[in-house]
């Protein structure tokens, strides 16, 4: 038979249990709006019962709090992270796609399309007195192309900065996770529940998952191991030498982990390539500069090394065009991605970790490079934006090139830019077709601005020939109207037989009212040109290629269609369609992902969230229980009073 003191201690235990429960409740209330917090429950259990010898059986000894656990569904966490990764990808790419769309400013009254239609209209009605407005409108078109090009390049630069800070963030997050992981393990080993630390760790993992897809494995003592989901080459998933696919491994053969729970276990970090420049005199060697851990604040983190991007192509002697193309493609892929796998110190390593890219070797091989190519997430989205910007820039370049080549060809009537001589040969009688373009309409301003003489004129001979040979390098960024024409618009060739004379003033065959050549240029808006062939990967490089590789034709009176091509407007509209569709898809995806994420977050909240009403009810409940326990003690006190003071008078 238990004594009164036993009841006393039952009361005390009860009060302690309720007090602890109240503590947990108040912790819940105070963290009701804490991000990542999961509500906790004090697990109250009965204490070990007392067996009473007289046959009554077991008597309870009260309650105790055995554990404070957090209420969490780890499967929902898994799903949320998955969708956060996808969401991160679309959010980052949408942000920049909408910027690109804003740069294009179509459909609108001030965009490229409008300038182009003005340009062609001007040619339609050109007379001697309107030539200067034609030249100014042409310059405006070129300027619009130039500024669009520059703005797209700026987008790429901004994206690079974001990639850099993302890499730094990721490394920072990984370090924090690692730290928490250690603490959690320690606390768990000592038999305690690290609830709040685990919440914090989960929150960091959620944040990390927006950057790229992560794999989280539960390990002993509540610790975890974190890995990254990367692009895998399905044909050869174990090839660690492929710089753009498959997970790297560590020298000990273990697969790469970002957070390793084992003490002293190998871990990886990421580094950011800030710059990549060709080594002069070589077509395949490049100098790469990267910052360890993406930390650009400290210059000590800067590492520079030389790499041969064509080391596996078997280049012997002179590089072939095909090999050059491969190298250029690799260069483009690297500059679009910019994230390197690195060891725990942040120094980049090869796929198997055997080669450390610390710049100690004079030249590294292509396979020594290991780029981080995530399957999804913000980093993937940023790479995609880089690729998109490059694609749009390439298309704009093709458009500028097509416009320049075709206008120059029609304007001069000369299919190949040719070589000019100084002094200009006198017109022969009868005149013969010119073999060189003495007055290119559109020029490459990069080269032209160095070759104008003091009066802004391109003199025939060396200066003009430099500009003509740079015509094949015309891009949307450097297309410009020949200053010689801007200074004296009356030089513009508009007459049918102008192709037989170096300058239109020499033309004795046509009167000034003859405008057939101008009409041909005006009609160019309806002409089909193979712009795809003019892109970076295309085969058409110079003016003459329109007529030899492409299927356009040029005669004195007509510019013939390339039936495999499209009109310049259609081509541009396709670019806008492309951008619009990408942006629309990204927006829709974000919306869909947001809905899904919302649903999962609701589920998470439903399980782990703090309900104030519930906690208030608990509060009242525990308060009452506490009071009741106190009552038990005071009752026992009264009973003891009876025993101590009341039995003996």
């Amino acid at each position: 038979m238990a004594g009164l003191f036993d009841i006393f201690s039952v009361g005390v235990r009860g009060m302690t249990s309720q007090q602890t429960a109240l503590n947990v409740t108040s912790h819940n209330i105070s963290n009701a709006n804490t991000e990542g917090y999961s509500r906790q429950i004090a697990k109250i259990e009965t204490t070990r019962p007392q067996t009473v010898e007289n046959g009554t059986g077991q008597l309870g000894t009260g309650s105790e709090v055995t554990a404070v656990t957090r209420v969490r569904d780890t499967f929902i966490d898994y799903q949320i992270r998955n969708y956060t990764t996808v969401q991160g990808q679309f959010t980052s790419s949408e942000k920049y796609l909408s910027e690109i769309q804003g740069i294009m400013n179509e459909p609108g009254d001030t965009g490229i399309a409008n300038q182009m239609s003005k340009f062609f209209s001007d040619w339609q009605s050109v007379t001697d007195s309107t030539k200067s407005s034609l030249s100014i409108d042409s310059a405006t078109l070129a300027d619009t192309l130039n500024s669009t090009y520059t703005q797209l390049q700026n987008v790429k630069e901004n994206v690079n900065k974001v990639i850099q800070s993302s890499v730094a963030d990721v490394n920072d997050l990984l370090d924090k996770v690692k730290e928490l992981n250690k603490k959690i393990e320690l606390i768990d080993v000592s038999g305690n529940q690290p609830n709040d630390l685990m919440d914090k760790r989960d929150l960091l993992l959620d944040e990390l998952s927006s950057k790229f897809g992560i794999k989280v494995d539960d390990k002993s003592n509540q610790s975890i191991a974190v890995g990254a989901v990367v692009t895998v080459d399905p044909t050869n998933p174990s090839n660690v030498d492929d710089p753009f696919a498959n997970s790297p491994i560590r020298p000990d053969g273990s697969s790469v982990l970002l957070v390793n729970n084992e003490p002293g276990g190998a871990e990886s970090r990421f580094s950011y390539i800030s710059d990549i420049q060709p080594v002069s005199g070589s077509d395949s060697q490049f100098t790469v500069t990267y910052y360890k851990n993406g930390n650009t604040i400290d210059e000590n983190n800067k590492v520079t090394f030389n790499i041969d991007l064509g080391s596996d192509l078997g280049i012997s002697g002179t590089i072939t065009q095909a090999q050059k193309d491969v190298v250029q493609q690799r260069l483009k892929d690297i500059s679009e991605n910019r994230v390197l796998w690195a060891n725990s110190k942040g120094t980049a390593t090869s796929g198997d970790g055997s080669v450390v890219l610390d710049g100690s070797k004079a030249l590294y091989n292509y396979k020594d490079l290991k780029m981080f190519v995530p399957v999804s997430g913000e980093l993937k989205g940023l790479t995609a934006v880089q690729q998109d910007s490059d694609r749009y820039i390439d298309k704009l370049n093709a458009m500028a090139k097509g416009l320049a080549f075709a206008v120059n060809a029609i304007h001069s009537g000369v299919a190949n830019a040719g070589t000019t001589v100084s002094p200009v040969p006198a017109a022969t009688t009868p005149p013969t077709t010119q073999t060189a373009d003495y007055l290119p309409y559109f020029v490459n301003s990069d080269v032209a601005k160095k070759n104008y003489d003091i009066n802004g004129v391109l003199q025939p001979g060396t200066a003009l020939n430099n500009v003509l040979s740079a015509e094949s390098e015309i891009t949307a960024g450097n297309i410009s109207v020949n200053k010689t024409i801007l200074n004296n618009p009356r030089l513009i060739k508009t007459k049918l037989h102008d192709d037989q004379f170096a300058y239109t003033a020499d033309n004795t065959i046509d009167g000034v009212g003859e405008e057939s050549r101008a009409k041909m240029i005006a009609d160019l808006k309806n002409n089909f040109i193979d712009f795809t062939g003019l892109t970076k990967d295309g085969t058409m490089k110079k003016r003459g290629d329109l007529f030899t590789i492409g299927h356009n034709t040029l005669s004195e009176s007509a510019f013939g269609n390339d039936s495999t091509g499209v009109t310049i407007n259609t081509y541009f509209n396709n670019v806008i369609d492309d951008i619009g569709t990408m942006e629309q898809t990204a927006k829709k995806n974000i919306k869909n992902q947001q809905l899904l994420l919302n649903a999962f977050n609701q589920s998470k909240q439903s399980v782990s969230g703090v309900s104030l009403d519930e906690e208030m009810a608990n509060l009242v409940q525990y308060q009452h229980a506490y009071q009741a326990n106190a009552k038990v003690i005071s009752t026992v006190d009264q009973l003891l009073d009876v025993v101590v003071n009341g039995l003996k008078k």
């Binding site: 009605s125 005006a522 919302n598 009403d613």
Partner: protein, 440 residues
């Protein structure tokens, strides 16, 4: 499902965001009056809008082209009408001159009027529209026509050295590049004579207005059997000098360049020293056509050149040039042969017969040209109609694609606003109360 306070407020926030987005979209569409503001709103429609805008821009340009050409044609037509009036007057004058009772003086009066008419014809053919000479072919920057007097050079008297008395014999002139001398000017050369009376050379004494005669002494050609020589004074001026024209060295011979003659209609070279255009390349420019694009791929020529009016083939297959016809008429009025070189008694008779016929042929040629111009004007008019219709259609389609339906958007707006207000009201009531309100 367990519902927590945060779930309610999260839900409220996300729904509110959706509502605000809807309102923003409608607001933007209302403000811009456009359904599509960015390509991503609807890429297909956006591209269609761009293509339509491009088509409309092109059409507006075609409209400008058509208007320009129409005005040009109107000007041409008016000018051709004036040419017709002049030719009719010429015709009337020819009928009058055929009257056998007309005296030389009366015919001279007719010739005076004809001279004026030729100048008028030149002026009409130089009609200018918007800085362009409408009858100039592609040579729109230079007047196509001008008039010239046919210069006549007559040898004057020869004077003895110092004496103002004519010598006996007169020299004759052989001039091959006459326009180089100034009209209505007397030129004089000082002759050198040998002992036998044969002229051996000369120095130009006065070479007014341009000094086109050789200023250095010239040597005479070797004398022929009778002692006559030729003096080449340069620039195509040659003097045939008979023997014994001068007595001593220093005798002066004069000759005159007169421009009292008939007015000729010629193509303008824009060179005052040699007003008649002879360069075949430039003459060719006068015949070139001007073209205008009135819709995609449809190009029309719209000009009439001066040579269309002047040169033609009549119904008998003879090719006629009005310039020659007019010169011929002048010569006939002077009582000379066609080229005016010698008197011709039958000349006046030709005035009312062949000459009149030629003028009438020219008039009928002019009428056929005017008919063609009329046809072109009609074509322009119908092109303009088509252009207008097309423009209207395109604008219509563009409006249907791009513009908002205001009624619908207004209704959408009030719906969205109602939803927004309702959501606010409900949420405000749901979020506010908690168990705390009821615990005492």
């Amino acid at each position: 499902m367990r519902i927590t306070n945060k779930m309610l407020s999260d839900n409220f926030l996300s729904d509110m965001r959706t509502n605000m987005e809807n309102l923003q979209t409608i607001q933007k569409q209302m403000a811009t009056q456009k359904e599509i503001n960015e390509a991503s709103d609807d890429p297909t429609k956006a591209v269609r809008i761009m293509a339509l805008t491009e088509n409309i821009n092109a059409n507006v340009q075609y409209n400008t082209n058509i208007n320009e050409a129409t005005n040009f044609l109107d000007t041409t037509d008016t000018a051709l009408g004036q040419v017709g009036d002049v030719l009719k007057r010429v015709n009337d004058l020819l009928i009058q001159s055929g009257n056998g009772g007309y005296t030389e003086q009366e015919r001279s009066a007719i010739k005076d009027e004809l001279n004026v008419k030729v100048g008028e014809l030149s002026q009409i053919l130089n009609t200018n529209f918007d800085g362009r000479y409408v009858f100039g072919g592609t040579k729109v920057d230079v007047k196509p026509m001008t008039t010239m007097k046919s210069d006549i050079y007559s040898p004057g008297p020869t004077y003895k050295n110092g004496a103002a008395k004519p010598c006996a014999a007169a020299a004759s002139l052989d001039l091959t590049a006459v326009p180089l001398l100034s009209a209505n000017t007397n030129y004089s050369v000082k002759l050198t004579v040998d002992a036998t009376g044969v002229v051996t050379g000369a120095t130009a004494q006065s070479a007014v207005n341009g000094g086109t005669l050789a200023s250095t002494p010239v040597t005479a050609s070797a004398p022929d059997g009778s002692g006559n020589v030729t003096l080449d004074l340069g620039n195509g001026v040659k003097l045939n000098v008979p023997k014994d024209i001068a007595n001593v060295t220093g005798d002066v011979m004069t000759f005159t360049c007169n421009s009292e003659a008939n007015t000729r209609l010629v193509y303008n070279s824009d060179n005052p020293a040699s007003p008649e255009l002879t360069d075949p390349a430039k003459l060719n420019q006068l015949d070139q056509k001007l073209y205008v694009e009135v819709s995609q791929g449809v190009t029309l020529d719209y000009n009439v050149s001066a040579s269309d009016v002047l040169k033609f083939t009549n119904d008998k297959g003879q090719s006629i040039d009005l310039r020659n016809v007019l010169t011929k008429i002048m010569n006939h009025l002077d009582g000379n042969t066609d080229d005016g070189s010698s008197p011709d008694t039958a000349a006046t008779g030709k005035l009312s017969t062949t000459d009149k016929q030629d003028i009438q042929d020219t008039i009928s040629n002019l009428l056929s040209i005017r008919a063609k111009v009329g046809a072109k004007q009609n074509r322009m008019d119908s092109a303009k109609d088509r252009n207008g219709t097309e423009n209207q259609n395109l604008t219509d389609v563009l409006s249907k694609t791009q513009d908002i339906d205001i009624t619908q958007k207004t209704i959408d707006y009030s719906t969205a606003q109602t939803v927004y207000t309702a959501a606010l009201q409900t949420s405000a009531r749901i979020i506010q109360p908690s168990l705390l309100d009821y615990l005492k």
